[in-house]
Chain length 177, copies 2
């Protein structure tokens, strides 16, 4: 289950563009799931043409085995963004949580509620998607104008969960436009 | 540093075809290194057109952080094989070591010497490459005739090191031929 979200800066605020959850075929082998992830993330990236991708950093681990398995999927996600020439940013979980107005140690449900309210979403998106949207909001809060890489740590080396956040820039300017 | 090796069954024996070590640009960001890995492994796969790819399984971890970082690269390696339609197999480290005639707990150097002697290699290839060749030898020892998937565990979920072993089949038959 891989959540993603697209947020755009519009005027003085942030506009929700799209979000989703990729459900991979659990009965398929790991390598075939990676192929599916690669294809579907690539398709999402092409459709939304973000100028930046942000992911959450990882500083706590359940265990080494789950860290390894997560790494497989995260490697593919970073590959998809980098192959498309889209810069990748990483933010610490506490920073992401604060960006949507919760405490840095807020529970997943609190973050989901905060993101839903902040972006005026209808219904109750899955937490995997609201997590991704929160990372996108965090990036847009922290990036200066013009785009300042140093505010996000480039070259992410670690991540707790795979939550690529696809981000659209101010005024709908697209990568390469 | 990613080692790879190609071994082919020829007559009653195994023939060393090629091996190498991919040195990635250590000064590049993680995501750009993954792009480089993707491109170079893809190129290697196209050049040697193996009918199977085998990797070593992982059952011990130095720590969760290194497991996560390894996972990024391993995910990309598995993706490259699976996108090319090449089946992927995984073997336990002890099984790989025994396949080249050392004990299941042999040190890396002993495995390197055993592989070098077994395949009649000249010089002293880097251990990353001999590790990969050992996995290829293990696969060819264990696969029946015809190709029996059940002897290798499909859908690898874990790996200690990234050591894709590119394998060529008996009599030079190639995938799709």
């Amino acid at each position: 289950m891989v959540g993603w979200g697209v947020v755009e800066r519009r005027g003085g605020g942030l506009l929700h563009v799209a979000h989703g959850v990729l459900r991979l075929d659990a009965s398929a082998s790991l390598e075939l799931r990676l192929v599916e992830l690669f294809a579907r993330l690539s398709e999402t990236l092409v459709r939304h043409a973000p100028v930046a991708v942000a992911v959450e950093g990882v500083f706590t681990f359940k265990n080494a085995r789950s860290a390894l398995v997560l790494g497989h999927a995260r490697g593919v996600a970073l590959l998809v963004a980098a192959r498309a020439g889209v810069p990748v940013f990483e933010y610490a979980p506490a920073m992401v949580k604060r960006a949507v107005g919760t405490g840095g140690a807020a529970a997943k449900e609190a973050v989901a509620r905060a993101v839903t309210a902040f972006l005026g979403l209808e219904g109750a998106p899955r937490a995997d998607a609201t997590d991704a949207l929160a990372v996108a909001v965090c990036h847009l809060h922290r990036e200066g104008s013009p785009f300042q890489r140093k505010q996000g740590r480039r070259a992410p080396d670690l991540s707790e969960r795979l939550r690529p956040a696809v981000i659209r820039p101010a005024n709908g300017v697209r990568s390469g436009a």
